[in-house]
């Protein structure tokens, strides 16, 4: 069904990283370990982006998620250190949550993904273009008035606001 070439093998490795890491995140008691599993999962996603010819996004993924957000989570874990050795890591509704998540997955797969994009699905036979837009085109699109210049500036504003808010909340002065 699917030919086994280098790309497929790489895909399988990265998929294992993503899903294995994600399972580690939600099941590990030790939060530092959970963060490292999160890093593994995010790294797998970066590999996916490379396979999908979006290397810029892969670099951003590593730079922002692994280099910054994961580190920030470690800081937060350390700052709230007495909370890292809870006896119960799950709340009372964890069985319900597991059922809900499982059902959601089945619904997504059987209800949406397989009938439309799966083998013999409605959209499965689409031609995939070999030509891919470059990162420079992303740059032009981001500041072009007909495309994304407004979201671009709003993103900057959002980050500024987030930073100001977070500083005000996190500092313990006055």
């Amino acid at each position: 069904m699917i030919e086994l070439n280098v790309q497929t093998i790489a895909f399988l490795i990265f998929a294992a990283c993503i899903l294995g890491g994600a399972l580690g995140v939600v099941t590990t008691r030790n939060l530092i370990h959970a963060t490292l599993y999160l890093v593994l999962s995010l790294f797998g996603a970066a590999g996916f982006f490379v396979l999908l010819s979006a290397p810029f996004m892969a670099a951003v993924q590593v730079l922002v998620y692994i280099g910054a957000i994961a580190i920030l989570i470690v800081f937060a874990v350390m700052l709230t250190r007495s909370m890292t050795r809870l006896r119960d890591i799950y709340n009372r509704q964890w069985v319900m949550s597991a059922i809900a998540a499982g059902l959601l997955f089945v619904l997504l797969m059987v209800g949406v993904i397989l009938p439309v994009w799966g083998v013999g699905g409605a959209q499965a036979g689409r031609e995939v273009s070999e030509v891919v837009a470059s990162t420079a085109e992303l740059g032009t699109a981001l500041v072009s008035p007909n495309q994304f210049v407004l979201p671009f500036e709003v993103a900057s504003l959002l980050l500024t606001a987030a930073m100001i808010g977070a500083i005000v909340i996190a500092r313990d002065d006055e």
Partner: protein, 415 residues
Amino acid sequence: MESVCSINNFVQCLLNLGIAPDLAQFINILLGVVLVAIVPLVTVIMLIYIERKVAARVQDRIGPNRVGPYGLLQSVADAVKLLTKEDITPLGADKFIYNLAPIIAFASVILVWAVIPFTPLHVGADLSIGVLYFMAVSSIGTVKVVVAGWSSNNKYALLGAFRTIAQLLSYEVPLVLALLIPVMLAGTMSMQGITIAQQGMWFIVMAPVAAVIFFIANLAEAGRAPFDLIEAESEIIAGYNIEYSGFKFGMFMAAEFIHAFTIAVLAAVIFLGGWSGPFVHEVPVLGFIYLGIKTFIIYLFSLVLRSTVPRVRIDQLMAFNWKFLVPISIINVLMTAFLLQVVRALGLAPDPAQATDFVANLPQAVILLLGNLVVIGIVLTMIRNTGRRQRLEDEARHAAALERELERVSAPAGD
């Protein structure tokens, strides 16, 4: 001609021998990886010797001179010593993660070499996002600090790790801001592309401020003096790698040395034109030599800096970054962007066809250089004024304290 096997036609050569195309491709890649990886591994052995010699000379000592001729085999002796040292894992350490940290440390440094262009023809992988690849790989370096500091189960290691992370994170900001300028000038993020764009004019002429910021921030990223708080022995013993011994500690050390050399190579590639030099297109191997010379000049400069400048304090370190480097980098990016628009409006930008021509690049370079000089002038004036004010305040405070002291001493005598 065809019967000669060299790096340049290796795949063809293997195919002639009757090897399957996929396998030939794989062998080619593997050989390339080994060749690229050997460069830093071999140089690190030399670097330790050179570093000790230079530091010794600056401090009016002789340095290593016992092992082998001129002490040349000192590094080998060091390696053998580390290899035979007992490898102690502290009780309560998180074993798996504890062993992972030195490996991440080494891998995160050596991976940068994959995108370094050695000659016009030879580059490991000419990624279209080379510059960001370097940033991404070096940001993995912070993970090693977290991992090492946390898994050692030692207060000092954890405290050192936190300081180190604060330093590494902070200095990444001016580093990335400084990298924006070569990308802007070259119009590409590939390392090879940036080198080619400097055929006409090195970027250090067009963007000296960015080059200096890049160099300083990289020194801090590598934890080199004067930013070596990471291993400030007198304050936090040895920082995050305090509990490591034997060859795991050796891995941290080797990674640090290679990192110091890597930043020199990156500065040479991004700002000093990499392999470019006379006759490089006729004899590509010359490019390797040019790059080596440029790299070693920068590396020696960082060594002299290491031996002459005192270590900064942690609060000074942070203030220097956030209140000095970052604002200057932001102003620098804006100024360069504005001047490039001015250059384009005046029609002085070099024609893409003549991008490698020195004269065609001259007007643009002069305008950018003038802009940079203005920034440097303003910054130096501000530093002088601030320094003068600070000195006057200090002197006034001292004088007041002295006066109080004199009054206190002389008062009983008057009674």
